[in-house]
Structure formats: structure tokens, C-alpha cells
């Protein structure tokens, strides 16, 4: 789960990391209010959307007078911001962050991520602030300093110190950066993050260490111990169908093709989409109805797929395991007839009692096409989708 920059900065502040003075605003007037409170300017106005690359897309602007703060903020609010990460349709800007502009002497990168191979959290630090860490990892990996966190989330002082010395930091600045790094690590742990990144971590002309931008992703699986996260979630930043599917407990990812896919199991769902792609068609979505694929779940899944206007044909791929193929077939038929599905349905059913399942599908009187293999199903769906 992604959160906005102003929310991430709030978290940083509560973990003892300094951020520029400022606050969020939803209107030009409110932005002016915030700016007045912050100081005498100049100010930075930053669009709050869940996508990187805002600067290049014109979502981060300077203002040198209160009048300009109002003007710039009003222009950003309500507009759509398309960045390299957001895709061409962009994100609607509903909030801006108004902050004091600071004079930067030096910019660092600091981030904490999960090292999947090691099974540990790791701090990444580099002298190239502002550069994306993935770019740096590809081009100059030796410039990234890595230090592991303890399993209880602590970055011991000696590791924080070692990381700073590796970057040639010393004196008062070093102790401030150390403090920020240790704060970032405890935040990562306590807030159940999957990513906590400060980029850039700035050292100002006055020698103050400040988090100028921050990106935090939270672990959805840890929601049960963070009831306050419900307030951090911004459903308007997500695809409405993805939000609806999540409310039903379905795992759904919207894509841009025309073949609506319904599959049981995440791995098989991905493999099915891959086969669709291989036969020259494009999947409209990823949708995992779960290993058991119960009837009410299948019903919900059909509903979601049919709400996507791009879907021209539905491809159902089910492997009947402990839940038998005939039971699954009956569930598909019941759901499809109840919902009066108006697009052709291609079903490929394999596994337990698949034969019996095929018979039920074929005798249903619905526009259900039974395919014997995944490739055949994908080809059939592709053909039907073109008509």
C-alpha cells in the first residue's frame, strides 16, 4: 500500500527525522494559509499523487510570493498529472504539499528495503541523492553502501557510523545523518514498511539534515496491527475495479487488453495471461478467484470483469483440485446465467472430474465454449474477441 509524500513525512517526523516546514492543502486559499505559517518564502508546491517522476511532469513548482503560492496551487489542484510512472491518463491532483524552499549543499540517498535472498531488511545509502536507486544499482552498484538491520528493526550505531564514513561524512553533519538513518530504520520496522526511502536526504547550507522527499510503502499483510492505516489509504489513487475487487477479497489487477481472465491461483493466472499474450491477444486483467473457486466468488469475479468496458470475451481457466471440476462447472453456469453475461465465455477446465464439468458446461444452453487446452482456449478467446 502506497501513501502520499505528506503522510510519509509525517511518519518521518514522528521518528525524529527533520523535514522542511510545511503542510498539505486542498485549495489555493488553504495553500496560502500554510505558506504564511511556514515563513517568508520562497516556497515549493508539490502535487500529492502516488507516482514518481513528478518534478519532470511539472508537478513540483516554486513560488516566491503568497500570491504565486495561491496561483500555482490552484493550477495544480484538480488537474491531472501524467508522469513516467503513472501512464498517460495520469493522476488527479487533490492535494498539494506546501513547503519552505531550502538551500541545499549536498544531497544523499537513504532507503530501507527487504533483501529477499537474505531474509533481512537492509539500509541502502549513497552520495547520489536525487538519482533513482534502481538506476544507480544498474550503473554504479559499487557506490551503494549496504548495512543490515537487526531483526528487531535496529540499525546499530556502529553500522550507521560505518555507512556515513564510507560516504566521507564527518562532524556534526555525520551525527545528524546517523540519527536520520537510525530513525528511518526504526520507522521501517515499526510501521511495517516494504519500502522507506528518503531521496534526497539533503544537507542544507546551514548544515541541517532534512528529508526533502520521501516514499513509503506499507505491507498490506500487516494491516491487522495498524488500524490507523485505513485513514492513510487513498482509494482514488487506485483503479476503482481494483478497489472493488479487494473489498470482495479478490486479487485483481487491471490491464489494458480485451480478454477478461478468471483463474484459480495466482501462478496459474499469470501463466494464463502469458498464453493469451503468446497467441497475439492482450489480457484485460489478472484475476485470481482462489484455489477453491466457490460459486459466490465466481459470481463476484464475473461482475468485476463485466464492469470493464474493454472486455470482449471472458476466459475462465480453472484447475479442479480438491474442489471437483463438476462443482466448479456448476458454479460457473449458475453465476453466468444469473448475471446474464453478454460476452462469450471460453472455459478451460482441467483436473478432478473435468469430463463431467465439460458436459455440464456444454449442456448449459449458455454461450460457453469449452476448450481442451490453455493454448486452444486462448486462441478461441482471441478469435471471439475480434468479432
Amino acid at each position: 500500500m502506497k501513501i502520499h509524500e505528506f503522510q510519509a513525512k509525517e511518519m518521518l517526523r514522528s521518528h525524529g527525522i527533520q523535514v522542511p516546514k510545511g503542510g498539505p492543502a486542498t485549495s489555493g486559499e488553504e495553500a496560502v494559509e500554510v505558506a504564511r505559517r511556514v515563513g517568508n518564502g520562497p516556497w515549493v508546491i508539490k502535487a500529492q499523487v502516488h507516482a514518481g517522476g513528478r518534478g519532470k511532469a511539472g508537478g513540483i513548482l516554486m513560488a516566491s510570493s503568497l500570491h504565486e503560492v495561491g496561483e500555482v496551487s490552484s493550477r495544480l489542484l484538480g488537474a491531472r498529472l501524467a508522469t513516467v510512472q503513472s501512464g498517460p491518463q495520469g493522476h488527479l491532483v487533490k492535494k498539494v504539499l506546501v513547503e519552505e524552499a531550502v538551500q541545499v549543499e549536498r544531497e544523499l540517498y537513504a532507503g530501507v528495503v527487504v533483501d529477499r535472498s537474505e531474509g533481512r531488511a537492509v539500509l541502502l545509502l549513497s552520495a547520489s541523492g536525487g538519482v533513482e536507486i534502481e538506476t544507480l544499482a544498474k550503473e554504479r552498484p559499487h557506490e551503494i553502501v549496504r548495512e543490515f538491520l537487526e531483526p528487531w528493526g535496529e540499525l546499530p550505531s556502529f553500522r550507521a557510523r560505518r555507512a556515513c564514513f564510507a560516504l566521507g561524512l564527518d562532524g556534526e553533519v555525520r551525527s545528524q545523518v546517523e540519527k536520520a538513518l537510525r530513525g528511518l530504520c526504526s520507522l521501517f520496522h515499526e510501521e511495517d514498511c516494504t519500502l522507506a526511502e528518503i531521496n534526497p536526504l539533503a544537507i542544507t547550507k546551514e548544515g541541517v539534515v532534512l528529508a526533502l522527499d520521501a516514499k513509503i510503502s506499507l505491507d498490506d499483510n500487516a494491516l491487522f496491527r495498524h488500524p490507523s492505516w485505513f485513514q492513510l489509504r487513498d482509494p482514488e489513487e487506485e483503479d476503482p475495479l481494483e478497489v472493488e475487487a479487494r473489498d470482495y477479497g479478490l486479487s485483481y489487477v487491471k490491464m489494458d487488453g480485451t480478454i477478461g481472465c478468471m483463474v484459480n491461483g495466482a501462478g496459474l493466472a499469470m501463466a494464463t495471461m502469458d498464453v493469451v499474450l503468446q497467441v497475439g491477444a492482450r489480457p484485460a486483467n489478472f484475476l485470481d478467484v482462489g484455489g477453491g473457486a466457490r460459486e459466490e466468488v465466481v459470481s463476484r469475479a464475473f461482475e468485476i470483469l463485466l464492469k470493464d468496458p474493454k472486455v470482449k470475451v471472458i476466459l475462465v481457466n480453472i484447475f479442479g483440485g480438491i474442489t471437483r471440476g463438476d462443482v466448479l462447472a456448476r458454479g460457473i453456469v449458475d453465476a453466468a446465467s444469473k448475471l446474464q453475461v453478454h460476452v462469450p465465455i471460453v472455459v478451460r477446465l482441467e483436473g478432478t472430474n473435468a469430463q463431467e464439468g465439460h458436459r455440464i458446461l456444454e449442456e448449459s444452453g449458455l454461450r460457453i465454449h469449452v476448450a481442451k487446452s490453455m493454448v486452444e482456449a486462448a486462441k478461441l478467446a482471441s478469435t471471439l474477441g475480434r468479432n
Binding site: F224, G265, M270, A271, D274, G351, T352, V375
Partner: protein, 289 residues
């Protein structure tokens, strides 16, 4: 022989009184697995499907000699359940639970370091050595005893492939679901090391997907150390960047963890990669002939 589970396996089921736990305990029992105990705190003294239930893993192990734990405990308490089993010296823990926070798994990994316990999963279908023991939630009957080892990050995709192998007369020595989470107890390499030493296993099918670098590490390991033929399948060629595809671990981030990269690494290591799940059995037959 086989790997991980066989006739000697004595299973205790943690979370046996829950819906999933009781259902699958019976399925394992029906398959012929020795399910000797269950654990649910506060439910000690009862029985489920004739299996005695204990309050603690300590009691269960002492009373029944269980050497393997199968975990269905809900996500918020699952990490604790894994550590409880490890503390009692249970040699193999298979955790089915989906949705364990990454932070909990970091702590579990640290806890298990240096202990003699092997963890499979979490978020996995479990382990089966056909005709000998099923310690998991996979449909038992699709498997046939034989010489192909299977290791996978997925559930139904594995069943699909196994079904295809069985139908083509290619039985399996052991099928291991290592799980779809970012942090899992055992990696592809860990399981390949076991298959390397297993005389019954003549070839291995490895089923990977987007996210992380476990497949690339396996490719390097196979090229250096693994002498048996391997066939791979990678899911997620069509997956977009930055989106979790069902499994918590199936995500391409910052251009890393793509199916394209994994397939390239496997092919560079001389490992044939099947283009569809249905093509796996044919490829296995060809590498075995």
C-alpha cells in the same frame, strides 16, 4: 527415497481445530500420511478425526514423537507458531498460511538461523512424496510416484504441471511448494541441493514467477553444481511493473524481477524453459530420453 517427507514422517498439525486445518488434516490422513497430533492452544484433550489435540507443540512432540509440523494458524499468529515448532526441535515445518507480514518473517528467519529446522513456505501448498506422504493441501490423486522432482513458488500452477506429468506417465519423486511470499524458509537452491542427493530423482521441474532473484540464483547454482536435467517454467511475462500479482512476492520493482530476465538467466545456464504449463511434460520427456 524421496526428499523431505516419506513413510517415516510423523505429522503434527498446528491449527488443527480450524476449518482449513481439520479439513486438510483429514485429507492428509486419507492419503496415508501419519498424522499423529494436532495443536490448538486451549483445545488440548480433544480429538479431530481421531487425532489427539494438545495445547502446546512441546506436549504434542513428547506424547507422539511428531517430527514434522504442518501449519494452518492464521497469519497474525503464524510466525509464533513456526517458532514454537522450531523450539521443540521439529525438523521440518511446512507453513501453508498466507498473509504473514514481512517483518514477522524477518524475525522467523533470524530465529531459525543456526537451528536444525527446515522451513517450507509460508504461503505454499506444501510437500508431497507420491504414495508415501502428503504434507500439504495439494490434491493427492493427481500425483504418480516416479523420478521427477518438482519445486515451485506456486499452487494451482504446480498442480497443472504435475497433472500433465502424471498423464504423460512421468511420476514424481517429491513435489515441493516453496511459497509465493517475498521471504520464504527454503529457496529453489535449498531444494535443488536435496534433489541432487536423492537417487530417486532423475530430473527436476522448476516453476518460478516474477519478483526477486531466486530463479537467477538457481540458474547459477544449476550451472555450477547440478548434474541432473532441469526444465523450467516462469509465469508473469505479461505482468506489469509495480503491481503485486496475487502472491505477495510476485512483483516487478524498479525493473527488477521480470520474467524476461529470469528466462534469459535460465537459458544462459543451458536450462530449457517451457513456453506454457502444458508444454512442460513434453520437455521433461525429451530431457529424460
Amino acid at each position: 527415497m524421496a526428499i523431505l517427507v516419506d513413510e517415516e514422517t510423523r505429522v503434527l498439525v498446528q491449527g488443527i481445530t480450524g476449518r482449513e486445518g481439520s479439513f486438510h488434516a483429514k485429507q492428509c490422513l486419507d492419503y496415508g500420511t501419519k498424522v499423529v497430533a494436532g495443536v490448538t492452544p486451549g483445545r488440548g484433550g480433544r480429538t479431530v478425526e481421531g487425532i489427539p489435540v494438545f495445547n502446546t507443540v512441546r506436549e504434542a512432540v513428547r506424547e507422539t514423537g511428531a517430527n514434522t509440523s504442518l501449519i494452518f494458524v492464521p497469519a497474525p499468529s503464524a510466525a509464533d507458531a513456526i517458532m514454537e515448532a522450531a523450539e521443540e526441535g521439529v525438523g521440518l515445518i511446512v507453513c501453508i498460511t498466507e498473509g504473514i507480514p514481512v517483518r514477522d518473517m524477518i524475525q522467523v528467519k533470524a530465529y531459525l538461523r543456526g537451528k536444525g529446522t527446515r522451513l517450507i513456505g509460508p504461503n505454499c501448498p506444501g510437500v508431497i512424496s507420491p504414495d508415501r506422504a502428503k504434507v500439504g493441501i495439494m490434491p493427492g490423486y493427481i500425483h504418480r510416484r516416479g523420478s521427477v522432482g518438482v519445486v515451485s513458488r506456486s499452487g494451482t500452477l504446480t498442480y497443472e504441471v504435475v497433472h500433465g506429468l502424471s498423464q504423460r506417465g512421468l511420476g514424481q519423486s517429491t513435489c515441493v511448494g516453496i511459497g509465493g511470499d517475498p521471504i520464504v524458509g527454503s529457496s529453489f537452491v535449498d531444494i535443488l541441493e536435496l534433489f541432487a542427493k536423492d537417487p530417486e530423482t532423475e530430473a527436476v521441474v522448476m516453476i518460478g514467477e516474477i519478483g526477486g532473484t531466486a530463479e537467477e540464483e538457481a540458474a547459477a547454482f544449476i550451472q555450477e553444481n547440478f548434474r541432473k536435467p532441469v526444465v523450467a517454467l516462469i509465469a508473469g511475462l505479461s505482468a506489469p511493473e509495480g503491481k503485486r500479482m496475487g502472491h505477495a512476492g510476485a512483483i516487478i520493482s524498479g525493473g527488477r524481477g521480470t520474467a524476461q530476465d529470469k528466462i534469459a538467466a535460465l537459458k544462459a545456464a543451458g536450462i530449457p524453459v517451457a513456453s506454457t504449463p502444458e508444454a512442460v511434460a513434453e520437455l521433461v520427456a525429451s530431457v529424460l530420453s
